[in-house]
Amino acid sequence: MPSEFFIPDPEGQVPSPEGYFGDFGGKFIPEALVAAVDEVAVEYDKAKHDPEFARELDDLLVHYTGRPSSLTEVPRFAEHAGGARIFLKREDLNHTGSHKINNVLGQALLTKRMGKTRVIAETGAGQHGVATATACALFGLECTIYMGEIDTQRQALNVARMRMLGAEVIAVKSGSRTLKDAINEAFRDWVANVDHTHYLFGTVAGPHPFPAMVRDFHRVIGVEARRQILERAGRLPDAAIACVGGGSNAIGLFHAFIPDAGVRLIGCEPAGHGVETGEHAATLTAGEPGILHGSRSYVLQDEEGQITEPYSISAGLDYPGIGPEHSYLKDSGRGEYRAVTDDAAMQALRLLSRTEGIIPAIESAHALAGALEVGKELGKDGLIIVNLSGRGDKDMDTAARYFGLYDTDAEVAADAADLAEIEGDAK
């Protein structure tokens, strides 16, 4: 019986055997990691064609993760988007609260097949770290998570979750103390411990085969969404919208729609305080091609190839790189990428919470803000799918401070006034 939930790319045109998506991708890694990365490629290729692997992963995706995830229409939210119909792909309802578990379970199974006993991972918002710690608890693997020190503070709840699950969490104090530096530190660990350790990379970046493999594990998002929207709306959407940091939830949603020329694929990058301020992490909007973390892709860098420090209110998008397949989609014109500010994302977060009773992750709120714009552009006949990649529990401290929701905060009153404005907007 064919696999229902593990659905790797059937076309296989990209990447090339060397891991290139057009000009992007490749394998820029130290010699010490070549054997291990090659082993991952070989084992993944075997697993991809092994019905037993697909059966095992499908079983987990259904009975552990809770797939398929729902497609929820959000009409009260959509009133603020020019009347277009908007559906949310509810990856926030997966076990552990985000899309990250799709990839993690696949790679955890692969870790077992390779006979490795220890897993390391980087995390920004903590969602990948939590998912990895979860899979390690489930499979009895030793687990170390690297997280930038700034992120351990703004996502303290997820640090506690990871530790509760038995993982060691290491706060990384080098560089910008965010996701980029967590990846650097994870690579340093991997080089030293590669004989028994798998680096369970959390996004569609890194050296080949990670961009293709992680994409394949997330492809189920778009495959399900495509089937669901056809059932529910009777046609394909005008746009599929997702937030992009490294780009895993976006490629997961987009990929099944790539052959559907009428479906616009729109990635929303973090503009932070505004691209013009320099305080942002909008890699495709403001970056140039370069090499970061093992592959060629767009990178935020200066004229001498030093990586510049990114900024976003969202820890999960606060990254100066992007998966190579997104760079390929951008340059080929198949993908569109726009930048969304902190403020626009936070407004969208509150709007969805108050109109639909769904509190999104700040990451996903960037996609929601994008949908508000795109909906207005499309008008009332528009049909949009937004990937709601994660839930917002982890972000409540950031959101409460942003909106002044703590009792001690006089701004609670101001927030109530804003709400009246929101209601007014929709009329």
Binding site: G26, F28, E31, A32, R188, V194, I291, E304, I307
Partner: protein, 272 residues
Amino acid sequence: MSGNIQLLTDTLAGARAEGRSALIAYLPAGFPTVDGGIEAIKAVFDGGADVVEVGLPHSDPVLDGPVIQTADDIALRGGVKIADVMRTVKEAYEATGKPVLVMTYWNPIDRYGVERFTAELAEAGGAGCILPDLPVQESALWREHAEKHGLATVFVVAPSSKDERLAQITAAGSGFVYAASLMGVTGTRASVGAQAQDLVERTRATGTGLAVCVGLGVSNAEQAAEVAGFADGVIVGSAFVKRMLDAPDDRAGVEAVRELAGDLAKGVRGQA
């Protein structure tokens, strides 16, 4: 002007003719300042180093441990630019007549432009480059320009490298082969990996005529003497940087690296 690959080859052959290993030292450019870094490199040559690798600091040094990360941070905060790295190479070479390489990550060169970088490095009197995150399969463009400008391409081999890869790497490389003594990032270690000798032997078994030099973890004369027993060269980086970080002032740092180079120079002559 052509680069100094021949000077590098001759220097390593000269050490072999003396029946000893060569001493190869690493120091980052711009640390603690550009001029201070140049003084330190001259002192290391004066103390007895045969070859110096000048680090071009990078914002994301994924193969470096905390010591070199700290030095890179200091250099980058001080505003070091590629032009400063070129000046460092030029002044170190002109003052000593000895081979000077650059060691860095691939992105700064990719961004700067391979042709521009190799032309300027050759013009400065550089002998070649070590690019530890540019594996042989991705290196064709670099090698084309390096060869055109008379610069060596020094590849790293690791204990995990399979024999067939060692053959590919030694066939594509020039200058010497950098054998990583252990699986890990740069930094001083109490002992040099036991895998080092095995790796040197496997590398030589490819039939390469290149010198095989061992780096990672070597920090004192005893370790240098041990490595010199089986390798053509001993590469020391973090131990020099650490001496400078620990020194009370820049002047003392220069003297400390001169002294360490002297000790290590005895070590590579089996006099530890």
